[in-house]
């Protein structure tokens, strides 16, 4: 780390930050609707986004600042294992191509704002819907906290905040300011703010990754040299375990873990409430489908981004520093390699890359609370205006919670919880995706399956120790029966599915009440503008 503050980089960073702040507030007037008080406006941007806005919004939403810092950090530290992010994002899109258009159609026809809304409507079960909503909120909170970790990494390398400053307030002041600003414009502009800022974020990210993928290897002597350096590092024997510290190619004992992590993460990706929010904000079924075909452009970027971890090794980042924080590898690489002004651009990309998902996540969590806790259990006769008001307030609470989380607790705890969040959110897959295709599952069986998956996943993850932590140190464990090491989330999902199937058979035999299904078969294939979609929405929405 260079001594002191990198002034040119800091100035550029602040300029970009100020520009997106202005955009965030102006966004309230962008494509403004007549009825600004309806939750569809604040929480879903008026359900009006076309193909390109949705593409930028989802790209800005799914590829977060934490991704930019954490994925290359794993490649930097352990090698091939971190590259699972590439197959994960490759298969995510063909997977969601099969079910997201159905979710969009049924949500559009019935005015659903959250995935839990759909579950309640499909199964007539507030309990199941509450389980889905709470899982979503729990999984999202640490994810928001990790966006702060991403900003912190950048600020650390820039030389402001963090570090060894004695006064906790001075130390974290930059983070406070960034988050206060974020909270303010999310409150006033809703989903329109991150949608507009996503243009800036994604453009900057593409620019930085393309430059990095060409310029840094040129300075380091080419990709061949970079992989040689990484291979040498991973062949080093760890004195404690007598095993190599990493591997350049996924070894036979690691391949189940690699594949199950990719598959499980791909299945979980669009179970996260913030992903669903991005999808439901689009204006047509065709927009959703078209996006699953053009979103892979981001996966290519992610692949090159991941390789930055190896470039950091070849550039000697953190070499000889005991206890070097791998999460700083990429920010440090940028500072070492780029001229100061471009370092500022790169750091702005990461910083803004944290703001967009953090805003959407807080909106999504707030919508879940409002629709599936407040309206369903506390105030069933809430008007759309009251819903919007509650949602806006909860978005603030959620963000303050995330801030306290990061400042007050160990950062490692947030990372562990986020891993756990991935396992949890995957347990809503059977209810949501199953429900999009069939009403065969019994609601009580789904609830039992969900509980089984949650308990198994949490218990298994609790038992995993890592050098830095005693519990929740990872997300892979031995798969029962198969005997290979695999992703806990996927094992828990299989258990969840088995419980749901078996109990459905039992409950159907026992003729347990099934609940009413307010959806019809053709709701799942409806397109915007068809009869029963736009026209019926105002009538259906208040009845919720």
């Amino acid at each position: 780390m260079k001594d002191g503050v990198n002034t040119p980089a800091l100035v550029i960073f602040i300029l970009f930050f100020a520009a997106v702040t202005v955009m965030g507030f102006l966004a309230a007037r962008w494509r403004k609707a007549d009825n600004a008080l309806h939750l569809d406006e604040w929480g879903l941007g008026g359900r009006s986004f076309g193909t390109w806005i949705t593409w930028f919004l989802l790209g800005g939403d799914l590829y977060t600042a934490y991704t930019f810092v954490a994925v290359p950090a794993v490649l930097y530290g352990a090698g091939a294992a971190g590259f699972f992010a590439v197959p994960y994002t490759i298969i995510a899109y063909p997977l969601v191509f099969m079910f997201l258009p159905r979710l969009w159609s049924v949500s559009h026809r019935h005015g659903y704002v959250t995935p839990a809304d759909f579950v309640r409507g499909r199964y007539g079960s507030k309990g199941l819907s509450l389980a889905v909503a709470l899982t979503g909120i729990l999984a999202t909170m640490p994810y928001i906290a990790l966006q702060l970790v991403g900003i912190q990494a950048v600020l650390d390398v820039l030389g402001v905040g963090g570090g060894n400053s004695t006064n906790w307030f001075v130390k974290d002041l930059p983070l406070f300011i960034a988050f206060a600003v974020l909270a303010a414009y999310t409150y006033s502009s809703g989903l329109r703010a991150p949608a507009l800022i996503a243009f800036v974020k994604d453009t900057l990210i593409y620019l930085v990754i393309i430059v990095a993928a060409i310029y840094i290897p040129m300075r380091l002597g080419g990709y061949g040299h970079i992989f040689d350096a990484a291979g040498q590092k991973f062949a080093t024997i760890n004195p404690a375990t007598h095993k190599p510290i990493g591997s350049l190619i996924s070894g036979p004992q690691a391949q189940w873990g690699y594949a199950t992590l990719a598959l499980g993460s791909a299945m979980a990706l669009f179970m996260y409430p913030h992903s669903v929010t991005g999808v439901l904000a689009s204006k047509s079924r065709d927009t959703v489908r078209r996006n699953t075909a053009i979103l892979p452009a981001y996966s290519l970027m992610l692949g090159f981004l991941a390789l930055l971890g190896f470039m950091a090794i070849a550039a000697g980042v953190g070499k000889g520093v005991t206890g070097f924080n791998a999460q700083l590898a990429v920010p440090q690489l940028f500072e070492d390699m780029f001229p100061d002004w471009f370092t500022g651009v790169a750091f702005a990309a990461i910083g803004i890359g944290a703001l967009v998902p953090a805003a959407i996540m807080s909106i999504a969590a707030a919508n879940l609370f409002t629709r599936n806790v407040y309206k369903d259990f506390i105030k069933p006769d809430a008007t759309p205006e009251q819903e919007t008001k509650v949602s806006k307030l909860v978005s603030l609470v959620v963000k303050v919670g995330a801030l306290i989380f990061v400042l007050g607790m160990d950062k490692q705890f947030a990372i562990n919880l986020q891993l756990l969040g991935g396992i949890w959110i995957l347990q809503t897959f059977v209810s949501i995706v199953g429900g999009l295709f069939t009403r065969w599952f019994h609601r009580w069986a789904l609830l039992a399956g969900w509980a089984a998956g949650m308990i198994y996943g949490t218990w298994k993850a609790y038992g995993i120790a890592a050098p830095t932590t005693k519990h929740f140190g990872g997300s892979s464990a031995e798969i029962p029966v198969i005997g290979q090491i695999g992703y806990i989330g996927l094992t828990a999902f299989v258990l969840n599915l088995v419980v749901a199937v078996v109990l459905t058979l039992v409950l159907r035999a026992a003729k347990a009440p099934e609940g009413t299904d307010e959806t019809a078969a053709d709701d799942y294939t409806a397109e915007a503008g068809e009869s029963g979609v736009a026209e019926e929405k105002p009538l259906v929405a208040p009845a919720g």
């Binding site: 490759i90 899109y93 191509f97 070894g251 036979p252 692949g303 295709f437 009403r439």
Partner: protein, 92 residues
């Protein structure tokens, strides 16, 4: 997974399984086989410009998978229009 009769009912007169849908399904499933069968590509050679096979093979599958998803999208869109056309003829 058993389906309820209503979920099976297609919104037109075409059968549920058509040749076009089978091709689209193959397009969508191919990336799963290619990327989740890790032992088929977990090796160093052949290298491409110094990049081990493990890495460039997976990166190559990003555009391949995108092309396949686009193909599936175009096929499904064409057939959806056909289905809607059939339905419009009898209903609206």
């Amino acid at each position: 997974m058993t389906e309820t009769p209503e979920a099976q009912a297609p919104p037109g007169r075409l059968p549920i399984v058509t040749p076009v849908r089978v091709v689209a399904a193959i397009c969508l499933l191919a990336p799963f086989v290619a990327t989740l069968w890790v032992s088929s590509y977990a090796k160093t050679g052949p290298e491409l410009g110094g990049v081990p096979f493990f890495y460039w093979y997976q990166l190559l599958w990003v555009p391949i998978s995108a092309a396949l998803t686009i193909t599936a999208y175009l096929l499904m869109r064409r057939e959806d229009r056909q289905r809607k056309g059939l339905k419009g003829g009898e209903g609206q």
